[in-house]
């Protein structure tokens, strides 16, 4: 049902031209949160360096996966890209225009092209609004279409995301988590965006429902020519859906590469450890693979370690690592890594997902 209606729409919406060009270019993005103390005289004691100077781009029609552990700054990155969180520094170029410098009115125009799907399908839908009102709200805000056209468009979108158009007058509590997330997808799509930040869109869902949503996101991308920034902590899902993958650690990108390169031949020791930590649903693989068990916890981003931020947990760290910060460098064609000793480590350690 969903597929036919997507196909019908595809003719009017597909934007295949400019495929593979850089759509979004993020340069040296920084987001610091002040730590404040005091009741009457508020003092700023320091800053949480949530995102600390990261650069990446997203090409038209691709999915860039952004992975990392909780607190690494991946969600803040997504919000800062959309200007939902004002960056402390850096630039976000969308089709060549720097979103950071735009005034609110100009920005609102761009908001139509850039949308977001939130993590928690329970918190991101207003419980007092009907599904129809939730999905149509962006149209109202942007003064688009007549009420009758809006209603039609809402029904059409419900069909596209695999829900019964008959549900328009229901309230969010009447839906399961998976269905709510579909409502969130419909809301993100109603302005015909080009670029969508998917912020952990499936991590609140049950395993059997996750696949339904992943497939829906992939279908929509194919049919509508969407570009995704897919933020997630589930490395298996990111492998499935992404074209390229960036790995974040305490506010920095430590590795960025094409999907196949990153998973088959990861170069940064953090990526290696991360991949080796993911359990694989196959007992024969589980028995034979070797694990890198990292010691300790993720450092506090208010007081990040000196030099390479991973040196406190890195099994290969040398004295130099705590002194200077390794830059993110292109060490192989379109494979970027921020580690002084990646080459040495690659020669010594087998890839984490290889079974010997």
């Amino acid at each position: 049902m969903a597929e036919t209606s997507i196909a019908e729409l595809a003719g009017t919406l597909t934007r295949k031209e400019g495929w593979g060009e850089v759509l979004l270019d993020v340069k040296d993005l920084q987001v610091y949160f002040p730590i404040r103390r005091g009741l009457i005289f508020e003092r700023t004691l320091g800053h949480v360096h949530a995102v600390d100077g990261i650069s990446f781009n997203v090409k038209r029609g691709e999915t860039l996966g952004l992975v990392g552990e909780s607190g690494c700054g991946k969600t803040t990155t997504g919000r800062a890209v959309l200007q939902l969180q004002k960056p402390t520094g850096g630039h976000v170029f969308y089709e060549g225009k720097d979103l950071v410098t735009l005034d609110p009115n100009e920005l609102r125009r761009y908001r139509r092209d850039l949308q977001i799907i939130f993590q928690d399908p329970f918190a991101s839908l207003d419980p007092r609004m009907t599904v129809g009102a939730i999905i149509a709200e962006p149209l109202e805000i942007h003064h688009l279409l007549t009420p009758k056209e809006r209603e039609e468009k809402v029904r059409e979108l419900l069909r596209i995301v695999g829900l019964n158009p008959y549900f328009v007058n229901r309230y969010p509590h009447e839906f399961s988590g998976g269905q709510r997330q579909r409502i969130g997808v419909a809301r993100a799509l109603i302005l015909d965006p080009e670029f969508i930040v998917c912020d952990e869109p499936i991590s609140a869902l049950d395993v059997s429902i996750q696949a339904q949503l992943i497939n829906l996101l992939e279908e929509l991308q194919d049919q509508l020519g969407l570009t995704y920034l897919f933020i997630a902590h589930d490395l298996a899902v990111v492998r499935h859906i992404s074209t390229r993958v960036a790995v974040m650690y305490v506010g920095k990108i430590v590795e960025l590469a094409d999907r196949a390169d990153l998973y088959d031949l990861p170069l940064h020791p953090y990526t290696k450890a991360l991949l080796s930590a993911v359990p694989v649903p196959d007992p024969t693989v589980e028995k034979r693979r070797s694990r890198i068990i990292m010691q300790g916890d993720v450092p506090n981003p208010a007081n990040p370690p000196s030099g390479c931020r991973f040196h406190t947990r890195c099994p290969f760290a040398k004295p130099e690592c705590s002194e200077a910060e390794p830059p993110l460098e292109e060490v192989q064609p379109s494979h970027y890594v921020a580690c002084f000793f990646w080459k040495e480590i690659a020669e010594r350690v087998a890839p984490p997902l290889s079974v010997n």
């Binding site: 552990e69 909780s70 399961s176 998976g178 269905q179 049950d206 395993v207 059997s208 429902i209 996750q210 696949a211 339904q212 992943i214 497939n215 992939e218 902590h233 490395l235 298996a236 899902v237 492998r239 499935h240 859906i241 999907r259 196949a260 998973y263 450890a273 991360l274 991949l275 080796s276 930590a277 993911v278 359990p279 694989v280 649903p281 196959d282 007992p283 024969t284 693989v285 589980e286 028995k287 693979r289 694990r291 068990i293 990292m294 916890d297 993720v298 997902l353 079974v355």
Partner: protein, 331 residues
């Protein structure tokens, strides 16, 4: 043949609610041998946590156990008085919960919380209990255990808190540990640390483990045998290798096909299980998975299939042999 440590027989737990009776656990049976790791896998609401809470008679109100037996070393725990079962909890059988923040008391020091069971169950004096607690903290690799034990839960990170929980549960040397999604709230690298720790402790101390999780990857690496639950029923049970090599229940198959794997690039699309889990207030005669099942036959609608032996120690509750006329390799 050694005696099983725990034998759950035909356990049934219900929750009377305004919308009707929720049939959370519908007559499940499984055994745990001494030193064995048994997995219970299923999605939220399938009854896996409630079945574990029922073992220790900890079902929250208004829930009630309406049938079955829980034999621990031959004694039926469900017949125990409150005082008697209290001697078992935290002593012979311990439990680790999902959220280490809510399962520790925020206003008591770790020392106070760790020594409590030792004083109560083992009759130790404070000094001995403290020595033992520090030992346990060192065993779960908490650095500076001697000083950190005087701190409070908020001083510890999520992974460290879960280590504290594990240390606490180990203190009385339980024979059985029930882990209810012990790593779901943790990051993947911390999860690997905790699972690695649990596995080593199990081998060193010879405890049996029941691992309750939704993550097939975790049970694949840790468990000897696996029970798959759906809608309050065990729909398939087998040895770990057998289950992953020859999944026989359409639900198990569906789960395995619907999850992407980190060690493989799957070119084709994922095959999701369509629909969503059933309403547990309405349990009819039909197979509970039938509305979502691609293999369902007429009989699935009329009769709920019982668990049947289909291979060595491999039980499945399905009227259909999913491999008949189908390629075996696609599982």
């Amino acid at each position: 043949m050694p005696e099983p440590l725990l034998e759950v027989k035909n356990l049934r737990t219900e929750f009377p609610t305004r919308e009707g009776v929720v049939h959370a656990v519908n007559g499940i049976s499984y055994t745990v041998m001494p030193g064995e790791a048994v997995g219970i896998v299923g999605e939220s609401g399938c009854g896996k946590s409630i079945s574990a809470l029922s073992v220790l008679n900890l079902v929250p109100v208004p829930g009630r156990i309406v049938g079955g037996e829980v034999l621990f070393e031959g004694q039926d725990l469900l017949k125990y008085s409150d005082d008697e079962i209290r001697k078992v909890r935290g002593n012979d059988i311990s439990m680790i919960f999902q959220d280490p923040m809510t399962s520790l008391n925020p206003v008591l020091s770790i020392l106070r919380q760790m020594t409590e069971p030792l004083v109560i169950h083992k009759g130790m004096d404070m000094a001995a209990a403290e020595r033992r607690s520090v030992e346990m903290m060192e065993m779960v690799e908490i650095p500076f255990a001697r000083t950190r034990i005087r701190e409070y839960p908020h001083n510890f990170s999520g992974g460290m808190r879960q280590r504290v929980m594990i240390a606490m549960m180990l203190a009385c040397e339980p024979k059985l540990v029930i882990c209810d999604e012990p790593t779901t709230a943790l990051d993947v690298t911390i999860q690997a640390q905790i699972l690695d720790l649990l596995n080593r402790l199990r081998q060193d101390l010879g405890m049996a483990v029941i691992m309750i999780t939704h993550d097939l990857g975790i049970v694949a690496g840790l468990c000897d045998r696996i029970n798959v639950m759906y809608a309050g029923y065990i729909v398939e049970k087998a040895g770990t290798e057998e289950l992953f090599a020859n999944p026989r229940h359409p639900y198990t198959l569906g789960l395995l096909r619907s999850i992407p794997r980190v060690d493989q690039s799957i070119r084709q699309k994922l095959v999701p299980i369509e629909g969503f889990p059933p309403d547990l207030t309405r349990v009819g005669d039909s197979c509970p998975f039938q509305p979502r099942c691609v293999y369902a036959v007429e009989r699935s609608e009329e009769e709920n299939p019982p668990l049947t032996l289909v291979g060595e120690e491999h039980w499945v509750a399905c009227w259909v042999n999913v491999y008949e006329g189908k390629e075996q390799s696609d599982g």
